[in-house]
Structures are given as structure tokens and as C-alpha cells.
């Protein structure tokens, strides 16, 4: 397999397969990841090919999944665990924040915790409660964790490879509403750095910064804006911890305007941190305040309201207009 068009789901599956093939210490574990292949079929066929010892159906206990993954990592394994849905991660939050994130530091660097936690996240799939959340900030806030999210098949494949190879715990957020979007994947390419932002579309008038599911929304917004004669740059941030502030700064110094877009609530979100730091770094370059578009300070609404809650094309363009009006 070299260059081909693949869905995000298939790309993650291929990446897990590659990791299982390349390193006998890699394990895949989670609820329903075995015979079923995961509720989204991300792990489809892996248990059949790699056996129950390496692709492990776990008891229905998220803290147990992460806690035992920590123990396996201490024994020298590289567990890749699946949390079935974003809203189900909280029973494991204590193990992730209190144990996984801090253990390397507590041992003064003498042990490593190469654990990857895959979490399908975000809304717009018409789901019931707790199946549409974007909790990335709650992890990015914790020192010791790295937090990333791919937006396309190529990044889904390569960023997972890099996350598994990392000796640090990585929370890998999968944009579940983009699972079946197809894009180019070259499994023999040389990937860029895991935590670097990528210019998804160059532009001159304003930078739209997003990650995961919102990258596509921003690309659509940029295409629509082009028809009105506005040139928007779309920056795919890819990593929420660390955030590539240098990459954002370089873009903003060109475009002089920045709008950050994410599904997660705006309040104290990734966009808030980016706004603060970019204002500090680019104060004399900015023509407008950094604006944010995201979820509201409200519980994720019932699915019939989610189109109003989530940033869509119109809300992004509204923010673009406001930024350009300064």
C-alpha cells in the first residue's frame, strides 16, 4: 500500500495494523475492539489477525482500561487504548490526570509511559447525550499529556504512528463526524513533526485556525469567502498540546487577522489560549482582536439543536466579517 484514497476510519485501522506489525510490544485494548472491531469499526479485523492477546476486549470500565494500560506500559508494553466515546472518558480521567500524566515526573524521568488514548470526539452525528462532546481542553490543560487531533486520512495514519512511537502519553482525538471522509494517504511518505501546524489552504486576508472536524468547515468557509473576494488562510493546528504558536504567529504576521474555530466551548477553550498568546506575540501585527467561534457554555444540546450549537459555515463567516470590519 502506498498512495491511495482512504477514509479516516480505514487510515486509523491501517495505522494500528502497521504498529501491531512493526512492534510486538504494541497492544490495542478497549471495549468491543475485538470481534466487533469497535463501535465505529476502527479496529476491524485486527483481533482476527493479531490475536486476543494483542487486541484485547476489556471489561466495561474506563478507569480500569487506562489503569491497566499504565501497568502494561510499566512492564514495557505500548498500549493503544480506545475510549468508546468522548463523554465516556471521565471515569478514566483520574487515572489519566493523576497517574498517567505525572508518573514520568514523579520518577524523575526513570520510567516512561508510552500510552496512547484514542477518543472519538465531537458532534454532528445525531447521537444521544454524552456521545458528541469535545473535552480536549480538559486534557491539554494537564502537564505531562500531549493532545492531538487529525483532520484527514493522511494525518490520521501518520499522527497515530508518531503518537505510538512517542514515549509520552498522547491523547489522540478522532474527528468522528469525518470518519468516512476520504482523502489521499501515502504510507511511504515522510511525515512532518507531530505537533506542527499545517497550512491547509494559503490566504492573505485572515487566518482561520482549527483542528479535527472543524478544519473541513473552515476550508468550506474559505471557499465561500473566496467567491466574495476574500482570501482566507486555513491553518490545521493538529496539536492542542503543545500548540504550534510559532506556526500560528507566522500565519498571523502574514494575514494580520485570526479567528480560532473549535466545537468545544469557547470559554477557557483552546481558542482562548491562542488568542492570549497571539495577542502577546503579534500585538503590532494585528488589525483586529482575535475572535473565537465554538460551542456555548451549555451542556451539549439534544441532537435536533446541535446544528445551532456547533460552529457551522455561517458562524465562521460571520466571525470573519467581524474581524475584517475592524
Amino acid at each position: 500500500m502506498t498512495a491511495q484514497k482512504l477514509s479516516v476510519v480505514k487510515a486509523i485501522n491501517a495505522s494500528l495494523r502497521t504498529a501491531l506489525e512493526n512492534d510486538p510490544k504494541v497492544l490495542v485494548m478497549g471495549e468491543d475492539v475485538g470481534k466487533l472491531g469497535g463501535v465505529f469499526r476502527v479496529t476491524d479485523g485486527l483481533q482476527k489477525d493479531f490475536g486476543e492477546d494483542r487486541v484485547i476486549d476489556t471489561p466495561l470500565a474506563e478507569s480500569g482500561i487506562v489503569g491497566t494500560a499504565i501497568g502494561l506500559a510499566l512492564r514495557g508494553y505500548r498500549p493503544v487504548v480506545e475510549i468508546q466515546f468522548d463523554g465516556f472518558v471521565f471515569p478514566a480521567y483520574d487515572q489519566i490526570v493523576t497517574q498517567l500524566a505525572k508518573m514520568h515526573a514523579r520518577a524523575l524521568g526513570k520510567i516512561k509511559l508510552p500510552v496512547v488514548i484514542r477518543i472519538p470526539y465531537g458532534g454532528a452525528i445525531g447521537a444521544v447525550e454524552h456521545h458528541s462532546e469535545s473535552p480536549e481542553t480538559l486534557f491539554a490543560h494537564v502537564a505531562g499529556l500531549k493532545v492531538v487531533s487529525p483532520s484527514n486520512a493522511s494525518d490520521a495514519y501518520w499522527m497515530l504512528q508518531q503518537a505510538i512511537q512517542s514515549d509520552d502519553p498522547v491523547i489522540y482525538f478522532e474527528p468522528k463526524r469525518r470518519y468516512h471522509d476520504k482523502s489521499e494517504l501515502d504510507t511511504e511518505a515522510i511525515p512532518g513533526p507531530l505537533h506542527a501546524a499545517r497550512v491547509a489552504r494559503p490566504g492573505t486576508d485572515l487566518t482561520l485556525a482549527a483542528y479535527g472536524p472543524m478544519v473541513k468547515t473552515c476550508l468550506e468557509a474559505a471557499a465561500a469567502a473566496e467567491e466574495e473576494g476574500k482570501s482566507l488562510e486555513v491553518l490545521d493546528l493538529r496539536s492542542m498540546s503543545p500548540i504550534d504558536f510559532d506556526g500560528i504567529q507566522a500565519s498571523v504576521e502574514r494575514t494580520r487577522r485570526l479567528v480560532v474555530v473549535h466545537e468545544a466551548p469557547v470559554f477557557l477553550g483552546t481558542g482562548a489560549e491562542i488568542a492570549a498568546r497571539i495577542t502577546e506575540r503579534c500585538f503590532y501585527h494585528l488589525e483586529a482582536p482575535v475572535l473565537r467561534v465554538g460551542g456555548y457554555h451549555a451542556p451539549y444540546p439534544p441532537s435536533r439543536l446541535e446544528d445551532e450549537y456547533l460552529p457551522g459555515l455561517d458562524r465562521v463567516l460571520d466571525a470573519v466579517d467581524r474581524a475584517l470590519a475592524y
Binding site: 478507569s63 480500569g64 499504565i70 501497568g71 502494561l72 512492564r75 497517574q99 514520568h104 514523579r106
Partner: protein
């Protein structure tokens, strides 16, 4: 040393009939595995026995005496302001030395923050234990040096790490075993319940060693459970045993049997070591607010060290010279610890940014540089 146990000889996958029978029997009056009475008498038990040489018996006694002396010194150092806090193991020496001496070097130990006696058995330098209580680090020793994990403060979390580690041993095809320490309070934690589930489902070679010291800070065991804790195991499908936690011989015999059982593929086991926290929860605690002196006096009569001394003396395993030499050794250990703690350096300021990530992190690098520049600005001002 020979340890014999029918539980070890007749193991059954996923729990034994014997354990079930024991549990049923215990519903009325819990059976306590005891090989050495509080009066220092050797007694037989149908399932567990132990035969130790005089030297081995003296060794256990020495371990307990030195551990208690170290512990007392640490309490004193806290009172003198050298430590910020200390969690004393006073009264739990037999549970810790007995179980700790049952482990093999290739076994792996997951402690709470009170396992000073187990650390001693594993060969961890006692002064290493004091760094976190002095506030110079959060543990800091290399867990793989003695297969002794860092102290875990959040209650019960380490039971899952132990179980995962044990799952890894199975995958490696090794015959090592894991022992997870926790207390009666931790038995209420979800992580301990989840560890029981995972250990049972994967038949992991892990021994759950619960020191029921009767008190979780101010809450008695009755606030944690309506059944004897060892009976919890039955619901998960593995054996549970209650052992006299102040009887070092019984703790050694039962733990060794459980570890052997685990390493031969028979899965997990729960040991409830029935003991007593003679001191406060930590140096910040005041037990006079919630328990009566009479209770402590009752347990003083069951002291783990005194009963072994009685045995050593009565059966002639040790003479006065041994006890005198041990006293000197204990004083030397205490002096060594005292000297080391008092000269333990504070970490460098920049250590705030050390070892947060194995592969580095841009934000940490940026903040480290900012902090260094800020610190350096004072040096410039003073010129």
C-alpha cells in the same frame, strides 16, 4: 525456609472450593489464619504452615525492629520540622515484613504511601522514602531498581497498575508475580473493584494485599463494608483469606502461597491482613478525636514484634547478644537516616521543568526559558 499450603498445592482456576468453603464458614465467625499467637505460641493451621530456621526467624525480627526504628525516627524528624509529613506504619510491621519477605526479586510491588517495611524488604534505601515527605521530590527512586513502584497517594489507583503489570507478565510468559498493597479505606474505591474485575477476567498473577488497619483516617472499617473484606474476593471469582496481620509468620506463609499460586497460573488472590494502625493516620492527624485509648491498648497486647521476641527467647533462637547488637544497629540506622535527611539538598529551582515529558514539549521549553530569564534578571540587577 519452607512454606507449605494446600491452597498452593491444590490450586483451581478462577477460585477454589476451599476458598468458597472458608468464606461460607466465615460468615459467622471469620477465620483468621494465625501461626503465632499474641502470646508467642506457635499454632498449626490446616491450610498454611511454615518452617523457618533460627537465622530466618531472627531475620524477620531484625526487619521488624529496624523498620519500627526507622519509622519512629521519621516521626521524630517530622516533629523537628525536617519532614513536612509522615505516615507511620507503627503496628503494621508484621503485615509488611511478612508479605514483603514472601516476594522474589523478580516480583513487582505496588505500594501505597505507608509501605516502609515492604520497601525495606525490597532493598529500597530508607532515605529515598523520605524525599517526598520532606518535599524535595514526589518519590524519585527508580521503580525498576528494586521492582518497587513509587508510593501512590491517591487511594487505590495502584491496584490497577499492579493488575496491568501482571497482565504483562502473563503476555511475556514469565513466572513472576505482582503484589498490590492497599488498605481498608481503599477497598471502597472503584479502582480497586475494577482491578479485581480485570485481574479475575485475565487470570492475572497479582496478589491483592489489603492491610485492614481498622481505620481510614477517622472512619472505622464499618463505614467501608458490611462484610469481612476478604469475602469480597468470592464475588469476583478468586480466593480471599484473612490473616492475622500482626503475625509475621502467617503473613509470610499466606503471601508466599498466594504468590506461588499466582506464578503457576492460578490467578489472583486477596489477602486481608487484619492489623491495627497504632499511630495516627499521618503526623497531621489527631486520633483522640475519633477513637478510644482502650482500643489501642487491646491491640498493644497483640504487638507483632513482642510476640516474635517471646518465641525467639523461649525456643532459644536468639540470645541477649543478638538483641543488644540489634539495638545498636537500630540506633545506627536512625542516626544514618537523621544525618541524610538533614543534609538532603533542596532541588534546583529549574527542576520545576524537569522530566515533565520524555520527548520534550514546546510550551515547557518556552516557560523554562522565561523562568530562567526572570531569575537571571535579579543577578543582573545586583551588579
Amino acid at each position: 525456609m519452607t512454606v507449605d499450603s494446600t491452597a498452593a498445592r491444590k490450586p483451581r482456576r478462577g477460585g477454589s472450593k476451599r476458598a468458597g468453603a472458608r468464606t461460607a464458614k466465615a460468615a459467622g465467625a471469620p477465620e483468621l489464619v494465625q501461626l503465632l499467637t499474641p502470646e508467642g505460641e506457635r499454632v498449626e493451621h490446616p491450610d498454611y504452615s511454615i518452617d523457618l530456621s533460627s537465622e530466618e526467624l531472627r531475620g524477620l525480627y531484625r526487619d521488624m525492629v529496624l523498620t519500627r526504628r526507622f519509622d519512629a525516627e521519621a516521626t521524630t524528624l517530622q516533629r523537628q520540622g525536617e519532614l513536612g509529613l509522615w505516615a507511620s506504619l507503627l503496628g503494621q510491621e508484621a503485615a509488611q515484613i511478612g508479605s514483603g519477605r514472601a516476594t522474589r526479586p523478580d516480583d513487582y510491588v505496588f505500594p501505597t504511601y505507608r509501605e516502609h517495611g515492604v520497601a525495606w524488604c525490597r532493598g529500597v534505601d530508607p532515605t529515598n522514602l523520605l524525599g517526598m515527605f520532606r518535599g524535595v521530590n514526589h518519590g524519585g527512586w527508580d521503580p525498576n531498581e528494586n521492582n518497587f513502584h513509587l508510593y501512590t497517594i491517591v487511594i487505590g489507583s495502584q491496584a490497577l497498575h499492579a493488575t496491568g503489570y501482571a497482565m504483562g507478565i502473563t503476555k511475556d510468559g514469565a513466572d513472576s508475580a505482582v503484589i498490590a498493597y492497599f488498605g481498608d479505606g481503599a477497598s471502597s474505591q472503584g479502582d480497586v473493584a475494577e482491578a479485581f474485575t480485570f485481574a479475575a477476567v485475565y487470570n492475572a498473577p497479582v496478589v491483592f494485599f489489603c492491610q485492614n488497619n481498622q481505620w481510614a483516617i477517622s472512619e472505622p472499617t464499618e463505614k467501608q463494608t458490611r462484610v469481612p473484606l476478604y469475602q469480597r474476593a468470592q464475588g469476583y471469582g478468586f480466593p480471599g483469606v484473612r490473616v492475622d496481620g500482626n503475625d509475621v509468620l502467617a503473613c509470610l506463609a499466606v503471601t508466599k502461597a498466594a504468590l506461588d499460586r499466582a506464578r503457576t497460573g492460578e490467578g489472583p488472590m486477596l489477602i486481608e491482613a487484619f492489623t491495627y494502625r497504632m499511630g495516627a493516620h499521618t503526623t497531621s492527624d489527631d486520633p483522640t478525636r475519633y477513637r478510644r485509648d482502650e482500643e489501642r491498648e487491646l491491640w498493644e497486647a497483640k504487638d507483632p514484634i513482642a510476640r516474635l521476641r517471646t518465641l525467639l527467647e523461649r525456643e532459644g533462637h536468639a540470645d541477649e547478644a543478638f538483641f543488644a547488637a540489634l539495638e545498636t544497629e537500630a540506633d545506627e540506622l536512625a542516626k544514618h537516616v537523621r544525618d541524610r535527611v538533614r543534609t538532603m539538598p533542596d532541588p534546583e529551582d529549574m527542576a520545576i521543568f524537569d522530566n515533565i515529558y520524555a520527548d520534550g514539549h514546546a510550551l515547557v521549553d518556552e516557560e523554562r526559558a522565561q523562568f530562567a530569564a526572570y531569575q537571571a534578571s535579579f543577578a543582573e540587577e545586583s551588579h
